[in-house]
Symmetry: D3
Subunit: 324 residues, 6 copies
């Protein structure tokens, strides 16, 4: 059922989220430090038992130089540099097993699927710890270190996402000039941020992106994980302003205004987890060429394989993999 | 949590299910009629946008000659006949989209994924109607035509499963001597039945097979879809014996005793949908070489990608795809 | 609690549902075929153990001439032709047992309670199969054959409803000029349709009628069975327009505008299953003399026995059973 | 699903419930006081709009002489004294509306349906207050006055039940020598108690009787209303023995051992509300001729209309209404 | 999540509740009778095992002179008369154990915690029966005697609340000129009523007060205990006006307009049990000096210990306990 | 309801948990390092607004020397050294607000309530971060660092618990020879561990202790937080043995066998969170003088204030605060 604004209002809805003056400086400094932290990209071939796809275990330096895991999957024996799709994972999940998620490589792309630090256990498995400290928090990562933008969990994860793009560009089979980012839900949120922070990315394709329009999202749905924030504030009542301030630095709306790449969005009108107004808040603010696929009868699964189909068409058009 | 027998008892548990004298005659006659009903196998290439995998839209004659849909996926341009894996789908689902489910083809097999008549809407989409009549029933297919073995829904679906094997053997890229069947839950139940009904199938690999040990399954779990039967009998109180009799012809336990192929099973000890004792009932009765993977902390998702990994190893060993 | 429009807006709410030009032609043709399909009305006395009421097992030809079951209950040994009340049953149920539902016969009417093809298992038992084919569908009947108005389940059920009236008029104890139709929820939807399709019916009395105002109903409630349609469209994403088109032929709003009989409606303001705006959509569109009973604190049970009381008064006034 | 003992153990299960020495004295004294409290039976014809059944509003003196309401329904204009069925109502309900519940009168019996003091609001409506005091309690009546057998709610309700039989025997159309008691759940519990306390009742027919085998019932189910007792004891931790002692005077097991009438019982093996072992505890202890209908796939609804059918056959055999 | 009016509208929202002309006369007469009913205040020292706080078991005459229990807790050996805080308890609870709830006494107040007649079992234990009769009702006290203002449960409980203030003023250690009332939810509702009915109370401090704005509260939430009223009216359909009339005499909105003391309120914007508009209805109507603490991310727990902190500051300012 | 062993079997139940040879060495080394990590105890008076109790904000060095917060509450102006009760908090909670939890100080003890690192947000608020890293994990702390005993979260928290005792013994108002530890659920688990690790603690009093008998606890309940472990292992299928091994070092059963202090336990027979067999596993293994209070009708709340009462009596007897 519909629980949000009517579609006509969604089309013009603007978030009330603020953007602090030091937003860009904060992220510039964050990336500067991360890129200066050292660490190297390690590649190791994985015997996944597949005939048509090669899989590599990638370790690259993320936030603080922490070693972050990823899978790189490519069509077997590519004959020339491939366009790359960097994919981020939804909340709770990890990079999974090498032989999962064969879509992008089968479609002719180099596909880097980044692991998610400290998650990777809920619905798909991961291998990357999060050495970052946490203050008092509710279960989950939404409030981990939330009282300070420096310590907030998503500072680390978004930086990992940027560094994944840095890493993929160093790999031998990849054309560094043709890199797109993609993801659904939390993965979409990271893609949206990375698109803004790495301007020379070619394109982005996100489904039901999370972490958008916190001022509205935290009060119009009872669904987790947005609700973790309300849970935290229900006991840390004195931290409401502090938390709201932290979140301005991580809101997809603020990233969206800074992006210029062509972008594919999808949104589901019956989605309680990333309510449609929060997705439209980012979409309507988005600074580049853009299109949005509206799924009227879907929840958070959105277009599922149909989104994949549209994203493949969209990214193929943007990145031109020879195979298509 | 555990809700069934302790594992040591599971290892030796035997179902109390009966087998009627005309069980074999019933199925022999059913297949005779189906194979005599005519219809032809139609193959059409599908533009799925993939670089490493070819996808074909298959239509083959199932029960009553009804046109049944399937996807055939193969590694691109196979150079010699491929071993085939015929896969059946879980309850409520269908064959999905052409670009989904690339695992088996990427691993070097010809992969025929059969659609499920009259389902194909719950979690993956399908395209095949079920022209079979239904009596009074509860929602779902578990009680569709259940008062008579001739009209029961699963007579049609299992026959489709057999005919899918018949069909795949006629296709040009396939080595008809190396065909395995696989599936999870309902898909596993169909694979188990087809393994018994088509003795020259090479192997089978099933996860948490459904439709096993009805006498126990219908009273030890409240989970759907087994519960559809209890729901039906809660109003059709006079049909208890009739329904029990019908189900003897469709119980995986009775198929398992008739099979001789090497088989991989998996079972999950926290599974309320196909409780472990019902899976062990079939496994313990199974007539061929067999192994079972026990997942102690999983529900109905069982081994997920880890089952895929083990099944790939198992079937590769049985069918020897050149690529491994 | 209230989840729909305020009552003042309900009173004037108009559905946005469309009506195709061939709506009347479709139904005219449908009934022509059904009435031409042959079959006869069979009556058999049932030993129900009752002293004041006679019960007969009726079989009559419905859609496609399919044999449809019904119970006829009359006061014992009626001395002259009785006015008849034809009742249709709510979703999932069937005609039940002969000795149930004695209200209308005890009140002096001939009471024909039609069975519901392919349902009759959920909360009351039935005996009538649905030989109609189904495409891919979600559990339940709401999406059975929904991609085409010719194959949609409700085409068959509504036609059965019309043929029940045809049948009751041929029975010896009945005055064919005094026939009313009634029902709650799905039963009310069928009554509403039959009232439109059989103009010489004397009156209708419906409580919380289902199947009204699909464009709104499918998006303002999560309650089943309306939600079956959203479930279906959440995987069959490409069928949204097709399904919407089919539903225009079965929407109670379109039937209501065609009716001219006096009608009793009831609606419950806390009803999530047939939300009040969908009922008012039909009521406000209704073309005959009408009254509506609003139950402010009820859910889908609506007025229950109090609706029965009002309906008895209403139908007694319209049909004048001698006994009152 | 099954959550209780296997059926073979149910058949021989014996409750551990105690019976205090003053059990009989307590009830003798209770009835003596109630019968001495005065009050008269008032009968008023009700215009229910029915042609075949007469309905009367009955008021009779119950516990403490409190005015208790009931409906009396008889076949229209009975020509001779009728056998009577006195029916008690399930938890939360009341006598409902005059035009409901026409089964027993339609079957040729005088049918007295007693209202339930202080309930009559949950699923059917009632009209009788409970002037009895209550101590601290959880919502519902299960712990109303539970710290003392004198003040316990069910002392009053069971006494009402006895006095209903006293009352019906004074009515002009009734044959006082042919009175049966019946009811489901709480109604069955009252019938069971009344059968023991009024030895010259002819028969009893109870479905899924409640209030049996408290020592087991209070710890093997989480379902209400048995759970009200656990809820109470979860805060009134010091009252466990006191409450257990009170309940010995109201346990259906202790009534059952004292009864000598022919009795029909039914039990449902999937019933969480009156778990089957608690029903068998009473059945196995029952002192008269007895039969039990086991419903293997039902919950608390048990046999529903099929129980009605069997109860009608049973009571007709015992009471011989001329009409059968 | 938010389910009520936006905060800006809450700030100016006015209830549509009516106030009958005899509202004041009704309460005047009620208190006159209660104060005339006799009974005496009994004090007994309780050995609670505490070193810093004395606890006394108090029994005082409430409505009808019924003996009502309370705990009096004071700082050990107070050297001069103490200001008193009279506290009422939330729905379902009782006065608990002597050694619970030490906040107010530890803060230097005499703290009288009144028991709640006929409740005291749900989450904290109580000892006070409710001898008042009840008509048909749903479980809980919300509909106990609701068809008449004279018999309604809350007439008795509010009167107890007034008499608790009368009683505390007679105790030796207390300064009768410095008495405040407090409570959360139902306790807040009683405090609100007592504040209006005992004008010389010094102050009141209420959190999320219940029983406010019935016309809105009964239709905008499904949460209990407000929902008990809708449950009752869903079967007692004919009593809607009667019940609405009774409730006008007990609505916190009508008490609030009559109060003149300084008051602290708190409200939680995510509270489904006492929805924020119902609290603001009382707050906006309140006739004295007032302040309200809004908790944006809390449900019915509201400010919890943070409300305690603010209430202590507020009442200390109003009552000046020497200790602060 | 009961979901575990019968009480007679609980009384003799023994866990199958293993104890590794290096258990004692592991903890000895852990405490050695923690005590060698430096850091000092900081005390700051808190203006809590209380007249009878003094509250101090304590910071002490925990695991790794991390600063851990606590509240110290004492009776106002104690005239001689007080016995101390160190309390640990249940899962998700923190030390709360200064003016909460006044029971132990009001009873004459010095009461140190330790904060819980990285929790303190769920139901009571906290102030202590957890700088410890986490690997992939499910939400909550149960699987934080679980693949290695060195990195497991509870290594840090238990060490904090030991260091809290070290800290409290340095405070001026405290008699270091009379220190007890207490807590419920997770708090009870920490107390149990600390009792074993600090042999000269005088006594312990634990209610429904958590973290006991992991081999059984992880498979007999679906309730969180034990279920976090099953959730983790449902994706990290290859880590089952590793995790089981880690848990042997943290199982309350293994701590219990090492303790020699007098101990009070309580257990609730309807507790799904710490099922009674897991509590009895620790109790039956406990090496000191012991008593257990069994609450037959309680869930995880166990004895609540009644446990407090018994614990106060027990600890007063052991520690002799002058005030009793």
């Amino acid at each position: 059922m519909y629980n949000d604004l009517p579609e006509t209002e969604l089309r013009t809805y603007k978030s009330s989220q603020l953007c602090r003056e030091d937003f860009d400086a904060f992220w510039e400094q964050t990336l500067l430090e991360a890129r200066g932290a050292g660490g190297e990209v390690v590649i190791e071939r994985v015997p996944a038992g597949l005939a048509t796809v090669d899989v590599y275990d990638i370790t690259f330096p993320g936030f603080g130089g922490d070693p972050i895991k990823a899978w790189l999957r490519t069509p077997k024996n590519p004959r020339r540099p491939l366009p790359a799709v960097v994919q981020y994972v939804g909340y709770g999940g990890g990079r999974g097993r090498p032989w999962e998620n064969l879509f992008w490589a089968s479609a002719g792309f180099a596909h880097l699927q980044m692991d998610t630090r400290g998650q990777g256990s809920g619905w798909s498995v991961g291998d990357t710890p999060d050495p970052g400290a946490s203050g008092p928090q509710v279960p989950g990562v939404m409030t981990k270190g939330i009282t300070n933008k420096e310590t907030y969990y998503y500072r680390r994860l978004i930086t990992d996402g940027v560094r994944a793009v840095d890493a993929v560009r160093t790999l031998p089979w990849i054309d560094p000039g043709r890199v797109a980012v993609t993801g659904g839900s939390q993965g979409g949120a990271i893609a949206l941020a990375v698109g803004a922070l790495v301007p020379d990315i070619s394109a982005l394709a996100v489904t039901v992106p999370f972490l958008c329009d916190f001022p509205r999202a935290t009060v119009i749905t009872d669904a987790y994980p947005f609700r973790e924030i309300a849970d935290y504030l229900s006991t840390h009542r004195q931290d409401i302003d502090t938390v709201a301030n932290t979140l301005t630095y991580f809101d997809g709306v603020n990233f969206a205004t800074r992006s210029r790449q062509p972008a594919y969005f999808s949104v589901a009108l019956m989605d309680p987890i990333t309510p449609p107004s929060t997705v439209f808040a980012a979409y309507n603010a988005y600074g580049g060429e853009k299109e949005i696929q509206v799924w009227p009868f879907n929840g958070h699964e959105a277009g599922g394989p149909d989104d994949d189909h549209f994203m493949l068409q969209f990214l193929a058009q943007q990145l031109d993999p020879s195979v298509l």
